[in-house]
Amino acid sequence: MAKQRAEPFLWLLFSAGGVVAALLVPALLLLFGVLFPLGWITPPDHDHLRAVAAFPLTRLVLFGLCVLALFHWAHRFRYTLYEGLQLKHLHRVIAVLCYGGAIAGSAAAAYLLTAGL
């Protein structure tokens, strides 16, 4: 039984991600994923959205949301594969794919929120 060095930090990221995902994602997904596409509410025009997204605090919040939500996914999905499909023997591959995906997504978010806006 080896004491876990990384797990506490990964769990903290998972938890923080769970909180921000629970607080912010439903409203954003409701607007951009359902209500705007269905035409029930007129989507905001481009200039407004760009101004909002480019505001430094929004950039920071969006970046935090993306990073934490991705690490939330990585952690939870890793354990879902371990338990739900009994793939614990593949734990190395699964961990690399999950956290690697989260890191790649975070890098993409960093790029899009700085150079891309």
Binding site: M1, A2, K3, Q4, E7, P8, F9, W11, E83
Partner: protein, 278 residues
């Protein structure tokens, strides 16, 4: 005995009778060459004051003496009569037959343990896990003269976690226990928390070595079924999540704070270690 005492398990025909019910009991008799469990149906009287355990006792006394199962106190405190009743882990002395009418009531051995015979499971894995979490008060200071007093608030901190009767219903309910035989499991971790939260105990860091592992708290993914199954409202799932939070903050502090200040940042005073200045 039957001459001296009234036979409480006999069908006495009082107004408590409400007909009969079928009990579908798992049998496993390796001594007869059985390789897998089978089920056997028993028709028993359905009485309002009978629990599933009373039904089993009726079967044992009047129908089939070869049935094996564990029981002792009949009042939900010994923790030995845990079985699956209609698939749910229950203390059979607390599961009333009328709640399962019209039946049949399925009675199976606890899940996630090997079966020795019929409804009797092998509990060695659990017995070996319990002492690993050092479930005793760790305090290197000499005990105080007289009582080691606690305020009601200090007792309230851990009392809930001290109610465990080791019935193992939580181990039967927990899928992680079934998936990973090395997982310490709900009761053992809740018991560790019972001592961690005790104001007389200084063993938080000692236990962290055992518990902040894959087989310890990090193996749990908060299914929450242990808490649902617990007949004593211990809430092992809550204990484990609280433990994760404190273990994670502990790791964060160890990472951020300089070494000399780590000990003081723990929950309560840290145990005296070699090299510590008094």
């Amino acid at each position: 005995m039957a001459d001296t005492y009234p036979d409480v398990t006999a069908d006495t025909g009082t107004d408590l009778d409400t007909g009969t019910i079928t009990m579908r009991v798992t049998r496993y008799r390796p001594e007869d060459g059985e390789l897998e469990p089978t089920t056997q149906d028993y028709q028993i009287p359905l009485r309002k004051d009978w629990a599933v355990l009373d039904g089993l006792n009726h079967i044992k006394d009047h129908i089939d003496a070869t049935l094996s199962y564990r029981w002792s106190c009949r009042m939900g405190i010994c923790g030995s009569c845990g079985m699956l009743v209609n698939g749910e882990p229950k203390l059979t002395c607390e599961a009333f037959l009328t709640d399962y009418a019209p039946g049949p009531v399925r009675v199976e051995p606890l899940a996630n343990f090997p079966v020795i015979r019929d409804l009797v499971v092998e509990i060695g894995s659990f017995m070996r896990k319990l002492p690993q979490v050092k479930p005793w008060i760790i305090d290197e200071a000499p005990p105080p003269a007289g009582e080691h007093r606690q305020t009601p608030a200090q007792v309230a901190e851990y009392q809930q976690y001290s109610m465990c009767i080791n019935c193992m219903l939580c181990y039967s309910a927990c899928p992680i226990v079934g998936l990973d035989e090395h997982f310490l499991g709900p009761a053992a971790i809740a018991l560790a928390q019972r001592y961690n939260l005790d104001s007389r105990d200084q063993g938080v860091l000692d236990r962290l070595e055992v518990l902040s592992t894959d087989e310890g708290i990090w193996g749990c993914t908060f299914v929450g079924e242990c808490t649902t199954a617990c007949p004593k409202h211990v809430d092992p799932a809550g204990a484990i999540q609280r433990y994760k939070l404190s273990a994670a903050t502990e790791s964060l502090k160890a990472f951020v704070l300089p070494k000399s200040r780590r000990a003081r940042a723990t929950n309560g005073p840290a145990p005296a270690k070699e090299g510590d200045t008094p």
